[in-house]
């Protein structure tokens, strides 16, 4: 529960910061990016557990959304879309990541013109 509160607080604080100006956005972005890069260098710390193990405790709602989705049923974990957190990490994965495994949906995507998969499909439930 306290993880959740921390997370919500972080989101509020950052959203306010981002709303202030572009320069503050970039500054904040750099600070966080550096921290994550640093984090990514520490295989011996939280890298000893899977993303999933931690997120099932810390973001149970997201975990549940994922677990009940097609990805969850196949046990295709966080890393598939978000990266391993060590070499790469993407908060908002790009559509072409999806297309590699769902290549039969490429025609459907083309018809959507400028939309990406996540414009319609929720990233964790994968609905609709």
């Amino acid at each position: 529960m306290k993880y959740k509160i921390n997370m919500i607080l972080s989101v509020i604080v950052l959203t306010i910061a981002l709303a202030l100006s572009c320069s503050s956005l970039c500054k904040n972005a750099q600070v966080v990016e550096k921290s994550v890069a640093e984090f990514a260098g520490h295989a011996e710390v939280d890298f000893s557990v899977s993303c999933m193990e931690c997120h099932s405790e810390s973001t149970p709602d997201i975990y549940e959304d994922w677990a009940n989705s097609g990805h969850g049923k196949m046990n295709y974990g966080c890393y598939m879309c978000h990266g391993d957190g060590m070499e790469n990490f993407s908060v908002q994965p790009e559509t072409d990541m999806c297309i590699n495994c769902h290549s039969s949906a490429s025609g459907h995507l083309m018809r959507m013109e400028n939309q990406g998969c996540f414009d319609c499909h929720d990233g964790h439930t994968l609905n609709p």
């Binding site: 640093e38 993303c51 391993d84 790469n88 908060v91 908002q92």
Partner: protein, 761 residues
């Protein structure tokens, strides 16, 4: 040392990043979006990993493999990929790729030239052969090698050196399935294809964690069940796995005690009128150790396996066994899928026979949606080793070393005297590595596999690997096996060579050469060819300039055989998404169901006879008599090492979704490492409580072969009295603790059951 992050801090950072990304800014750049970059060329190929044989498109740009995507035109996976294949390009480009030959000098492997390395191997092998005979040499290959590669190895060792000591790791995973198919249906490999999945009403998953070991098959089953809620799934496994999310009923036997369950199910099926009497009368014979018996004898035999007796033996409630049998009987169509849970057993062939029995007595075979369908572990275990003859008793194209006519036929094609091929099978895998320990085998060539980690009771066999002259051809370095090698040869990897893989469903598929081999790496088939020339077989290996020449010669040997591949030329395979044999001519589309109408062999040779006898199938394989399949009376048998007061737990091993074998490939993808970073032991919560073991505590597993420390994962997965360890990690090679007892028929080891105990570390 940079700052350590706790879980909590990471989540906080991630949450902040999520917020930023929500307004369109990625704070974590670095994901490769290969598909978005222009100039990517896509090449149709096959997944390098498992026996499902999914079609992939290899993305290449400027001579580099940058991405993999599913091949939407391939009927196996319809464009979908599982997590392993998604990261295959990382294996191609891994820092662990070996780029040059190495020779052990003063105890250390040092870089050498090809000339020096191959000269050394040829000289050593010839010395050994001259002093001790051909049988002092051996080849140990892989179900991951291409058919062309195994073909070259077979010719060099069986045809030129003159030893049948040619084995491969499919002995460790599929040999029992081969024995089962041959003895029950008369011919190896399944009757039907994957397309039966979408026509089946019931799935019996016996000894198969399909969700993790064959993910795309699981996806097809799951999709089918979602669309058709009447579809039912019964699981037989001592462990709850991710496959359970689709289960309607799960039977949890004690590991190694399930044979009685199959017999009890057969009894219920017959007693309750689910047997197909007409099919039984026209298509089957009943046999036990004394030979052919009548149906009444079979029924009497089954009286020893009432559901209640089976409950006593297996621990599965009689009511559940009855329920499973009724579900099987009531369903119009049923598919049984199995893999290592039945194969890697002291009585693996019997387990296979008993599964076939269920389909045979109910006639749930040879009809769309019904099949007794073995799932293969490796991508070319069927194609290269079972069909290609990469085991000690086989020759290419379903020929046998014991048959004089087969030896003569193959020798003629190889251009060697028939007398070169020995009439006696060579040593099977465990016997071969035992002989290496004892010095009877003095030189071994290992291709595309890592036996120092993968053999059961592995440590026992390190002695021979260390003491004898061992050559390892590998794409990755180091592995546990290269630790013992005298010479390591850099092998070209997938995408850097062309060739054919044959997957679980009799489908042969072509893989193109997309980029040049890295560094000085060479294609395994060319390494073997060149070694052959250096050993003095210049004439015998002169013609093999291309992969296509090797394939054409091989497919010529399949002409007229049950696995006829004459219609599968490279030209054709390059265009289509594989062909399912028998495919006798270039205009034949491939075969859906064997032994019945639509199978070209049946249609041309047996249809008339079958019609006359009022039959719908004719089992024409080499081991069937009068076109009849066999129902075997196989009794219960204990595992080789039952639990006892000293070792009260059953240790069973297996796989996780994200890793493959000894991780030489999946270990190159950080995402896959991240998903399951370490080995662990799963312990049932009741057992854990009884032993006062807590989740995440360090524990030591002990068997009669040694001990090893693991993190405990207390979880309601293994049935009480059973512990489970995934086998992939080099730093926790659990196979060292496994028993090397093997099935007397298939010679496949019993990886799935060993007696163990646990204590806190």
């Amino acid at each position: 040392m940079s700052k350590k992050y706790t879980r909590r801090e990471f989540i906080k950072t991630s949450a902040a990043a999520s917020a930023a990304a929500g307004i369109g800014v990625s704070l974590f750049p670095g994901m490769t979006f290969a598909n978005q970059s222009g100039g990517t060329n896509w090449h149709k190929s096959v997944c390098r990993y498992c026996g499902v044989g999914c079609g992939v498109m290899i993305g290449e740009k400027a001579g580099k493999i940058i991405s993999i995507k599913g091949d939407e035109l391939n009927t196996v996976n319809n464009g979908h990929l599982c997590v392993k294949a998604f990261y295959l390009h990382k294996a191609v480009n891994s820092k662990t790729r070996l780029h040059h030959p190495m020779i052990r000098k003063n105890g250390k492997l040092v870089k050498s030239s090809w000339e020096e390395a191959l000269d050394l191997v040829a000289t050593k092998f010839n010395e050994i052969r001259k002093a001790n005979g051909g049988n002092a040499l051996a080849f140990y290959g892989s179900g991951q090698g291409e058919t062309e590669e195994t073909y070259m190895a077979n010719k060099l060792f069986k045809g030129c050196i003159g030893t049948n000591n040619v084995e491969g790791n499919p002995r460790l995973c599929m040999a029992s399935a081969v024995g089962g198919y041959l003895s029950s249906l008369g011919a190896d490999e399944p009757v039907g294809l994957y397309e039966d999945i979408e026509k089946a009403e019931l799935f019996f998953l016996a000894g198969s964690n399909t969700a993790e070991a064959h993910p795309i098959i699981f996806e097809r089953i799951m999709r089918h069940k979602t669309r058709n809620p009447n579809v039912k799934i019964v699981i037989l496994d001592p462990r709850k796995t991710p496959t359970d999310q689709v289960a309607d009923l799960h039977l949890f036997p004690k590991p190694g005690y399930d044979l009685a369950i199959f017999n009890a199910m057969a009894k219920v099926l017959i007693d309750e009128g689910y047997a197909d009497d007409d099919f039984i009368a026209k298509h089957l014979v009943m046999k036990n150790g004394d030979g052919v018996q009548d149906f009444e004898t079979y029924k009497k035999f089954l009286n020893d396996y009432t559901p209640e007796i089976a409950e006593k033996i297996s621990g599965v409630p009689a009511q559940d066994i009855i329920k499973a049998a009724r579900m099987f009987g009531k369903a119009k169509t049923a598919m049984t899928l199995w893999t290592m849970g039945l194969n890697q057993r002291k009585r693996g062939v019997w387990a296979n026979n008993l599964v076939h029995n269920l389909h045979l007595i109910t006639g749930k075979i040879g009809v769309p949606g019904s099949d007794s369908f073995s799932l293969t572990g490796q991508p070319n275990a069927c194609g290269g080793v079972r069909e290609g003859g990469g085991l000690c008793h086989l020759l290419p194209g379903h020929h046998l070393v014991v048959k004089e006519a087969h030896r003569a036929k193959v020798a003629k094609v190889w251009g060697v005297p028939a007398s070169n091929i020995q009439p006696k099978p060579g040593k099977h895998t465990i016997a071969m590595f035992s002989a290496l320990n004892e010095g009877e085998i003095k030189g071994m060539y290992i291709m595309c596999t890592n036996p120092a980690q993968s053999l059961p009771n592995a440590k026992k066999y390190w002695k021979g690997l260390k003491e004898q002259f061992v050559v390892v051809a590998e794409s990755f370095y180091p592995t546990m096996t290269t630790e013992y090698a005298d010479v390591v040869l850099p092998a070209a990897f997938w995408t850097e060579k062309e060739g054919v893989y044959g997957c679980t469903e009799r489908r042969s598929q072509y893989m193109p050469l997309v980029v040049a081999p890295q560094g000085q790496a060479k294609w395994d088939a060319f390494i073997l060819r060149d070694l052959g020339k250096k050993m003095g077989f210049e004439k015998e290996f002169a013609k093999y300039e291309t992969a296509e020449i090797m394939w054409d010669e091989y497919r010529g040997l399949t002409k007229g055989k049950d696995m006829n591949l004459m219609g599968a030329s490279y030209d054709r395979l390059k265009k289509v998404r594989g062909l399912t044999w028998p495919v006798p001519t270039e205009d034949h589309p491939g075969t859906y169901k064997r032994f019945m109408a639509g199978d070209p062999i049946y249609d041309s040779k047996f249809a008339e006879l079958a019609k006359k006898e009022g039959r719908r199938m004719y089992f024409y394989g080499p081991k069937a008599k009068d076109g009849k399949a066999t129902v075997w009376m196989r009794p219960h048998d204990d595992p080789a090492e039952p639990t006892d007061s000293e070792y009260p737990l059953a240790l069973t091993t297996g796989r996780v979704l994200e890793h493959w074998h000894t991780m030489t490939m999946t270990g190159t993808a950080p995402e896959l490492n991240r998903a399951v970073p370490n080995a662990y032991v799963e312990i049932n919560p009741i057992d854990a409580r009884n032993m006062s073991i807590k989740n995440k505590e360090q524990v030591v597993i002990e068997t009669r072969r040694g001990s090893m420390q693991f993190e405990a994962r207390v979880i309601d997965r293994p049935v009480q009295g059973t512990i489970f360890v995934p086998w992939h990690w080099e730093n926790k090679p659990i196979n060292v603790l496994c028993i090397d007892a093997f099935d007397p028929g298939s010679k496949e080891p019993e990886y799935k059951v060993a007696a163990a105990r646990i204590r806190k570390a």
